[in-house]
Symmetry: C2
């Protein structure tokens, strides 16, 4: 990881929140950095030794400022870690960093050594908690219309329905968005049955984590909030009770093919 460039920007995904689900490479990157930019509380939980590092905190909503600050401090020759939960490249700061560099074309940003360290996502965490609902082809859709026009989100939902993908919904509901998840449910119900498994994960990897298994017919936006990730199974997904707990999986074998052909 040696470099003779002006500075380095490390885009670090720390996973769902539990320290034992953070890759050692992410912890190494945080120790290597001169400056950490992210939510202080999450960083302290990962490794108390990081509390001595220089920090910059920003409010929620100040994503552009946070990315600009990371690029500017790195351009001064520092090694800067921009810290994201989950994976920095999945609904997080990674894409915004590259977008800023691309749009503004500042020579000092275009010379940076930008390195990303992957992290376990909320969707994967939920999938593993409940079984293997993402065992066959899946997609991820953010229901946030803050940056994406609603028509684009509907187009995604139609693609997911046509393709019979397992669907992971990020930002399924917010205080201002209370009907969109029900719209998505109704659209999917035109293509898959009401007993399709649905999993709601809340506060994944954090205190108070809950995982609820229900059906697509039972899904109600009123029972979901901004701390949730929702996975909707494909037409092939199944629920099975094992040791008293509902588990969900999506088999790879389809229709005419069956499990015996694995052998």
């Amino acid at each position: 990881m040696e470099s003779n460039l002006t500075g380095r920007l490390l885009l670090v995904g720390t996973g769902p929140g539990a320290a034992n689900l953070t890759a050692p490479a992410a912890i190494e990157a945080l120790h290597e950095a001169d400056l950490l930019i992210g939510y202080g509380l999450y960083i302290d939980l990962l490794d108390p030794d990081l509390s001595a590092k220089n920090r910059l905190d920003f409010e929620l909503g100040q994503e552009t400022e946070r990315c600009r600050a990371a690029l500017d401090h790195a351009a001064k020759g520092q090694t800067v870690a921009l810290v994201c939960s989950g994976d920095s490249g999945i609904y997080a700061m990674g894409a915004l960093v590259f977008e800023l560099v691309d749009k503004e074309q500042r020579p000092e940003w275009l010379a940076l050594d930008i390195v990303s360290v992957p992290g376990i996502t909320a969707m994967q965490t939920l999938s593993n908690r409940v079984g293997a609902p993402m065992g066959h082809d899946f997609c991820a859709i953010s229901m946030s219309d803050l940056l994406t026009p609603w028509d684009t989100i509907v187009q995604r939902l139609e693609g997911a329905a046509l393709g019979d993908f397992v669907v992971g919904f990020y930002n399924p509901v917010s205080k201002k968005r209370d009907w969109q998840l029900n719209f998505a449910r109704d659209l999917l119900l035109k293509h898959r049955s009401a007993d399709t498994p649905v999993i709601i994960g809340r506060n994944l990897g954090r205190d108070g984590e809950t995982v609820t298994v229900l059906t697509l017919g039972e899904l109600e936006a009123a029972n979901v909030d901004m701390f949730c990730v929702v996975i909707v199974g494909s037409s092939q997904s199944q629920t099975i009770e094992i040791a008293g707990t509902p588990r969900v999986y999506t088999p790879r074998g389809y229709a005419k093919k069956n499990v015996e052909e694995w052998s």
Copy 2:
């Protein structure tokens, strides 16, 4: 993780191969197990101390036998770790374990404590190597028709095209499958431009790793093999050269919305 059930089955995803991308929880699970089932070589690379553990190895293709052995040994009261690369719930053994329990309904399997530990996937690893191509809605499609009818795969491709998803292709090509990836390219080319960014990752997280950035118009199955994962950008994905290296990202902001609205 205490349990008074008959036995425990740990489904452990070890990530892409590099030990510093394996979650500590996965290493803990391997140490906790009485028996490790998986590829011995990969396990040794993760932690040499695991070499003293009881092992069961199976040939590639013996997936059903491997899962049955894991279930049976756990049913005898052992703690068994079934080891997968990537995430055990994503194109790996996790779903097959649950499918076997569901289809066979053996009481000793239905009583097991089955716990999964998530791992970083090949697709995420590739995404982080090149930038943030999965920065907005994405899907994953396996091109293997071993267990999935070709018609189903085509349906997925059409859904991905309609939804304008970033697409991660698993098993893009094999010795017996040499034209399907070109079919997928041609189908996507009806919906997105020939200069859409494409990334080919080979031997991700292993010795000899390569990452190649090209365009959808340039994608040829002849240049891809079974050791590759391929990511095709959406209509919004961009390539930018930073510090002499091509980087790819997919912005969250769309069309009428722009980067300024983040602030």
